[in-house]
């Protein structure tokens, strides 16, 4: 990690033709992939100091991208309804495009690689499909849901996969499940739009269309807490990877309101909300810096805000006047990438205050 730091010592930015829809870092922080609503896909290779446009003059939006945990593959999917994969040969090696895999399911906007594993989960209409990077095959048994899948996420250990649609949230252990051990299906009162597992404690949060939030306790055991009264649908969620007194910090975004949630006790009044007021328009992305409690929020109001773990605004960052669509922290927690609605991507070096980091040295050894 240390040798890569000088590469992004200065603020970097660049432009794609169309609004940025997604950003993803490789696990080693050597690559950053950037996708646009015009279907462009740009790969930055920091060690080699070069960039390559993997996909250019298409008119089909790409909406979800990601690197496999081992860095072997880069995935992209979107409007075309097909999964695109590139095989990466390491820094300085030209990525090799594999044959596109059409799934016949319409627009794909949710897909995720298994942490620490080789499975790629893709929300294909009402099915969760799994592609195995080891065998390079699709697994035979997809998970079927009663509605179009709106969100998809893996637990940090790569064991559990959560998916949500209108009316149902499913917890699935695709590597363990046998017919005797079927996926766990929870009925939910609305459509689950956002899902996030905490790295520590394995809590699950689900943001819903009906302006509410569901929060499952540690290890997803028992009944979820339900919070309602949000100003709008709850569309973004992020957990800090730092330990809290009980659960780690959770951030939620609903319209222009970001709320920081702290668990203060067990039982019914367990969570304390702290509204973070700054943004004037819809918040489109939320991300905690790895290894700290620093939170970044990106908004249509053309700012990215940095907040400390108590919800104090540390620094607003302004772009070029266009709304920000997406955010991604490099794993070192020192570099933040953002993409805006005019196609500009930004890379900011961030000095995380010591106070926000000190918890990590006192923590449970992550980082």
């Amino acid at each position: 990690m240390a040798q890569a730091a000088p590469l992004v010592r200065e603020l970097l930015c660049g432009d794609l033709q169309q609004p940025i829809t997604a950003l993803a870092w490789s696990a080693d922080g050597e690559f950053l992939a950037i996708a646009s609503a015009g279907g462009e896909l740009l790969l930055l290779d920091f060690r080699a100091g070069c960039e390559e446009l993997l996909r250019g003059d298409h008119d089909n939006s790409l909406d979800v991208i990601g690197f496999s945990a081992d860095g072997q593959f880069l995935m992209a999917a979107g409007q075309g309804g097909e999964v695109l994969l590139w095989e990466l040969g390491g820094t300085g090696v030209r990525p090799l495009a594999m044959d596109p895999m059409p799934l016949g399911c319409g627009w794909i906007d949710a897909a995720a690689w298994q942490p620490g594993g080789q499975l790629l989960s893709v929300a294909a209409g009402r099915e969760v499909r799994l592609w195995d990077g080891g065998s390079r095959q699709w697994r035979e048994q997809p998970l079927t849901m009663p509605g179009t899948i709106q969100a998809l996420t893996w637990s940090a250990d790569g064991v559990q996969l959560a998916a949500s649609c209108h009316g149902e949230l499913v917890l699935w252990q695709p590597c363990l499940d046998t017919p005797l051990d079927p996926p766990l299906r929870h009925a939910i009162g609305s459509a689950g739009l956002a899902l996030a597992f905490s790295r520590l404690g394995h809590h699950l949060a689900c943001g819903l269309l009906d302006r509410s939030l569901l929060l499952w306790p540690q290890e997803c055991q028992g009944q979820p807490w339900q919070f309602s009264g949000f100003p709008a649908k709850v569309r973004q969620l992020a957990w800090s990877d730092q330990p809290g007194r009980l659960a780690p910090l959770l951030a939620s975004a609903s319209a222009e309101a970001v709320i920081l949630w702290t668990q203060v006790q067990q039982g019914s009044k367990a969570w304390q909300p702290e509204p973070l007021l700054w943004h004037e328009k819809r918040v489109n992305a939320l991300a905690f810096a790895p290894g700290s409690t620093l939170l970044a929020s990106a908004s249509s109001d053309a700012t990215v805000a940095l907040w400390d773990g108590r919800g104090r605004l540390m620094q607003p960052i302004e772009g070029q006047g266009a709304g920000f669509n997406s955010l991604a922290w490099r794993r070192d927690g020192r570099h933040l990438a953002a993409g805006d609605a005019q196609g500009r991507w930004w890379l900011w070096p961030v000095s995380v205050p010591v106070r926000e980091r000190q918890r990590s040295s006192a923590g449970s050894g992550f980082g």
Binding site: Q18, P19, T21, A37, G38, D59, S61, D63, G78, Q79, G106, W107, D109, G125, G147, T148, Q150, H166, S190, A191, L209, D210, A232, K233, A255, R282, N325, A341
Partner: protein
């Protein structure tokens, strides 16, 4: 629930909803919209993939999915697939200037319409321009009793009576009368091969209050209910005396809370006591919107005209309730 947005109409993307029973000519009309030189960049969301295919045009397939927001009441249903797909599409807002949504032949148009007023994002980013319903003149008689056909007629702002070359004059007039009994407020066009002037389809602004009423002047000569065998019908109400806004408001809100699922659309121009401006009002099921629009013109006939389109309307009860709102 009101259905106006805080965002000015001019900044929102206009949406045309295209309905019509199976075989009425929706695909033909869509292809006309996509190929016509109207100077608009049109994005289209279709349900039957593969039938519409024009190079360089944005055509997106959607899988019709109804979200029941609350106890399964029709007034609270929206199209979840549209929320998701339009959300994705709106990132490229500058790439197109009109959106057309084709519904399946068997669809109830209400959830589509309600999606644009209920969903917080769509309400601020789009505006419903008009509901266009195609009627198959040759075959509509066979499907007349289906709920879908009657709902599609009831919700229309523009009715296109298509395939006029396949029926004779008297059949056309009979269907026209029957359609008018259900929906007296829609603009009615007759076409062969879905060939209709684009300016009557796109940019109609039927959901903007100032354009809410395009009543056939002859229709409101006298107050009357259109009697027919059909369960769906309409009732036109006229009141020469000025009305009281509070009375009218509570009558309408009571009405929609008790009869909402059966009241498809209401439109009215209201003469209020002590006001020099017209008050215009419209509703879709339980969504109601009303505002002052413009001063009454010199020589304009000052009176209240109110049209209700719905199922199993109790004409006497509605008439009594309406006239009780006189100031």
């Amino acid at each position: 629930m009101a259905f106006s947005s805080a965002v000015p109409a001019g900044e929102r993307l206009p949406v045309t909803v295209l309905t019509g029973y199976l075989g009425a000519g929706k695909t033909t009309l869509l292809n006309r919209i996509l190929t016509h030189e109207h100077g608009l960049k049109v994005a289209v969301i279709v349900n039957e993939f593969g039938e519409v295919g024009i190079d360089n045009q944005l055509v997106i397939d959607a899988d019709e999915e109804i979200f029941e927001m609350n106890n399964g009441c029709i007034c609270c249903t929206v199209r979840g697939d549209l929320i998701r797909i339009i959300g994705n599409l709106m990132k490229r807002r500058d790439r197109f200037d009109h959106l057309v949504i084709e519904t399946t032949g068997l669809a109830d148009p209400a959830p589509v319409i309600q999606t644009f007023f209920v969903d917080e994002d769509l309400r601020d980013e789009l505006r419903l321009d008009a509901v266009v319903t195609l009627v198959d003149l040759k075959h509509v008689e066979q499907h007349w009793d289906t709920e879908e056909v009657q709902e599609q007629l009831a919700f229309a702002d523009v009715l296109v009576l298509n395939k006029s070359d396949l029926v004779d004059e008297s059949a056309l007039l009979a269907i026209e009368r029957r359609v008018r009994a259900i929906n007296p407020v829609a603009r009615m066009l007759t076409s062969e091969n879905a060939d209709v002037p684009m300016q009557h389809l796109l940019g109609v602004e039927a959901f903007e209050l100032e354009r809410a009423l395009s009543l056939d002047p002859g229709f409101l000569v006298d107050e009357h209910a259109h009697e027919h065998d059909d369960a769906v019908g309409s009732l036109a109400l006229v009141e020469e005396r000025p009305m009281d806004l509070d009375k009218l408001g509570s009558w309408i809100s009571d009405l929609v809370s008790s009869r909402g699922p059966d009241l498809f659309r209401m439109k009215g121009i209201i003469q209020l006591a002590g006001k020099n401006e017209r008050y215009v009002l419209q509703s879709v099921h339980m969504l109601i919107d009303g505002d002052f629009d413009r001063p009454w013109k010199l020589g304009e006939r000052r009176r209240t005209e109110f049209v209700i389109i719905g199922r199993d309307l109790d004409a006497d009860g509605l008439r009594a309730g309406f006239h009780a709102c006189v100031a």
